[in-house]
């Protein structure tokens, strides 16, 4: 159980640093160290994500990194998709969901590595806004 809490800290650090990674670590922390099945771990991960995203957003706004109107639009427009995703998660076999999740985080890893290597000779994140 202590491992799950430690991974929680780590997940928060990566979420703050990269904007992604909270859930990618919460879910396996909950299945591997807190005894939850894949679906319950996903549901519980989403609960943990909410306060982390609130605090992260508050900090990011302070740095001028949040476009409020787009963020609200994204959140509202995503709602139907989120409900559909949850229904799907409850419909497919749990082992299949676990394997798909493993594939997802490998994809995330590949994308991060690719982005990091591509950005090696260019400054990141400092492009002036419109």
């Amino acid at each position: 159980m202590i491992e799950a809490a430690l991974i929680g800290v780590l997940a928060g650090v990566f979420a703050g640093l990269l904007g992604i990674g909270g859930g990618a670590l919460f879910v396996p922390a909950l299945t591997l160290f807190a005894g939850l099945g894949q679906v319950d771990a996903e549901a519980t991960s989403l609960l943990a994500i909410v306060p982390v995203a609130i605090v992260g957003t508050w900090r990011q706004r302070g740095y001028g990194n949040v476009r409020d109107r787009d963020a609200v639009a994204l959140g509202v427009l995503a709602s139907a998709g989120a409900v559909a995703g949850v229904v799907l998660a409850n419909a497919v076999p749990e082992r299949a969901l676990e394997l798909l999740f493993a594939a997802l985080i490998v994809y995330v890893a590949w994308q991060l590595a690719r982005g990091a290597l591509a950005a090696s000779d260019a400054p990141t994140g400092d492009t002036p806004g419109p």
Partner: protein
Amino acid sequence: MVDLSAPAGRTARLAAIGTLAGLFSGLFGVGGGVVMVPLLMVWLGYGAREATGTSLAAIIVIAAVAVATHAGYGNVDVEKGLLVGVPAIGGVLAGTWLQQRVPQRAIALGFAAVLVGVAVRLVVG
């Protein structure tokens, strides 16, 4: 802030990004940043830090909708959610502070390695 020259196209892009992010969030228990951050950069010309910040803000709404739906199925373990979520709040404060100060290349590569290790562990069981 808003590109008024093509509001319809812009809204359509936001809708597409949001729908994809919502599906990923609900299906996999993640925030959806994996979808939003790259697409905001490629489709809407966001810089990396703006994409990160805006994605995090959208995730508040997306994760709240997804967790409420999961709660309807009785899948949410509140105690264990707090067990990982509360320590993560400290982590995210450290992470956003660090983001303004350290080059992200090494961190992204390190995180990628962690994720591959976790994936192997999940598949092997």
